[in-house]
Amino acid sequence: MTEIIVVTSGKGGVGKTTTSASIAVGLAKRGKKVAVIDFDVGLRNLDLIMGCERRVVYDFVNVIHGECTLKQALIKDKRIETLHVLAASQTRDKDALTKEGVEKVLEDLKQDGFDFVVCDSPAGIEKGAYLAMYFADRAVVVVNPEVSSVRDSDRILGLLSSKTRRAELGAAPVEQHLLLTRYNPQRVADGDMMSLDDVKEILGIEVLGVIPESEGVLTASNSGVPVILDDESNAGRAYEDAVARLCGEQRPMRFLEAPKKGLLARMFGG
């Protein structure tokens, strides 16, 4: 049974690709056979975050157009054997992706015995984002505790419950999860950032995880190593927790409290 997970958000720059890479790695580390697909046609980036940019020969659009086989286009990860990356095309042709083409690729991945397909959605609500979510069984909606991101993700939640295959067939709805990223507990404590509870209350869906704002995310992307593989960083550990929850484990939320201040810092309000 293959499960299709879309990582989406509406707004750009909130951490979709970082999240897709880390979720795919986290699932593969658990022994699952995983493919992660970049749906951002024209703006390929997942390959950089995964650290396989120099090994891209064929891409998603080549497969859809029958210019190569799916097997040729899937890039095997060098760290985890069961992990595969399908890069986006750099073409400027917006209509390069078709619903039938995407369906065929997903069907072939099912036949190949993949356990999970992670679809990294582009920002916006155009065709690429629509196709990334259309066939999904579950959705991870990435949101920053910030007004425009929260509003856009509510829009995406609406689309997930109306513009997906599950919605059109009247099947069980796409399972929705919220992933709060770039969370800064200190700013929450200062009243300058909405809290986990605020966002949860506004959007009204279950929370898969909270990823603290962390230097580790930038250093990970600099070196092409998904941040979940950095167990020194809080963001990496929070992603590990989120993947465990995705697999049905119960784990308490971590990194929600600001680090305790010293006496001097407390006296002078540092």
Binding site: G191, I202, L203
Partner: protein
């Protein structure tokens, strides 16, 4: 909280402002979700017709579709100006 915090200007937490603004806009956008695409145009044309007879504001028309069992009910309410106080044109169908 530092002992010199009272020197800073007291202000309402911006996180609370964000939450309240979002609560309102999200509720409003959800209420319009799933409504037929022709609603805005219908609203504009109805407004033009009504304006031939009564001088009403741009936002005097409230129009939405509600589910009532098997049927979809198009509910339209028009607030008439002060002069005709209390009068409300209401049509359902």
């Amino acid at each position: 909280m530092g002992i010199f915090d009272f020197l800073r200007a007291r202000q309402k937490s911006t996180a609370n402002i964000a939450r309240e603004r979002l609560r309102i806009i999200v509720a409003q956008e959800r209420s319009q979700r799933g409504a037929p695409d022709y609603l805005p145009l219908l609203r504009r044309e109805l407004l033009e017709v009504i304006r031939k007879y009564v001088n009403v504001d741009q936002d005097a028309i409230d129009i939405h579709v509600e589910k009532d069992g098997e049927h979809d009910v198009l509910e339209l309410s028009v607030a008439l100006p002060e002069r005709a106080a209390g009068a409300q044109l209401r049509a359902e169908g």
